[in-house]
Symmetry: C2
Subunit: 241 residues, 2 copies
Amino acid sequence: MKLYIVGLGPGGGQDLTLRARDALAESDLLVGYTTYIDLIKTDFPGKPILSTPMRREEERCRLALQAAAEQTVAMVCSGDPGVYGMASLCYELAGEYPPVEIEVIPGVTAATGGGAVLGAPLSHDFAVISLSDLMTPMEVIETRLDCAARADFVLCLYNPASRRRKDHLRRACDIVLRHRPPETPCGYVQNIGREGERVVVLPLSQLREAEVDMFTTVYIGSSQTKIIGGKLVTPRGYLQR
Amino acid sequence: MKLYIVGLGPGGGQDLTLRARDALAESDLLVGYTTYIDLIKTDFPGKPILSTPMRREEERCRLALQAAAEQTVAMVCSGDPGVYGMASLCYELAGEYPPVEIEVIPGVTAATGGGAVLGAPLSHDFAVISLSDLMTPMEVIETRLDCAARADFVLCLYNPASRRRKDHLRRACDIVLRHRPPETPCGYVQNIGREGERVVVLPLSQLREAEVDMFTTVYIGSSQTKIIGGKLVTPRGYLQR
């Protein structure tokens, strides 16, 4: 049968694409992390649901692949399923299950969803980096931060903190501060498109001290980024050419 | 009044979010580049439209800001309006016009839209770089390519070629080849989500020779990227932890 891997956009609801909505409606079973399933389940009353807690990603993908042998299944992910989502893991595991057609349905990822709330920070070249060292050595993460700051990319940081990793954002800021001044415009958005959405624009020196959580997306400006009317904006260069 | 800056997603149509569709429906006037307006105008018959040709970006934003003084206007952009789109330019120019509320409505950007077609190439840290040197010195672009390749980011390249810039992709590949082997898995997608969509998976050595155009998005794998069942996949690391 078929496995849809569906991006819900940052908040579910209104940021869902028409294609994602249709795939959810067409599916016999919805599979996902409990928090994300909760964002959409009221829109599909009575539809069978399999939800699993955080950090059970492999189990979740295996359940979806197994179930897809006999019905149409939608595995739901926050944001885009291809950006730190479940799409790659499903492809990695698919060979162990009966053949099933996989269709990844893209969604608005947190980088651009949060960017829209802050203004237009990602309007020139940018690098997306997760600060989670659960599966990536901290050394690799730090090299990427250093190289991206050196080459003047705008930085967009996913998973900037967790209960266990309280100081990762401070370490990241200190690496960027080797290459950029403390007044560099930055920002962060918590709970993009959801209840409790919170937007903060601040200089790099203060971002170092910010209290963020795992539902926060962080932006560090390039040398060109500025604050215009309270918004974080990286010009593309149209007015300079 | 109000100016919506609306991302249509890669192809318009089915990749539009519910919020984008509602904003277009609510607007009194749609403004945009002719090609993108054509993707959606049949869905809004009779709605007034102002379309301008390519490379008239400043004029287009000024028209939208002027018109928004008296009515609700939607400026439409392909993909996400914050990624090489019109959002930053509108914020830069807004101060010259009567005050107007600006709301950026994010969309699926080509990076994740094309990624979904290819598989899951962006499932670990990635850098987005435009190869257009119309507004960015070639030297800056080349430094970014070199740093991103050195730090083992997946690379996603926008605007890899135009009639005038035929050899930029070859130059970019040669820079990446300093740090990665010629067999590195790569891919590209032309006309994502539109008529004539075309997907190619190929090694870096062949990407160098590929014939691409300005409607192509290019992906260069990291050291971890592999091809699984014809799909380009960058594992997140769940199976190694």
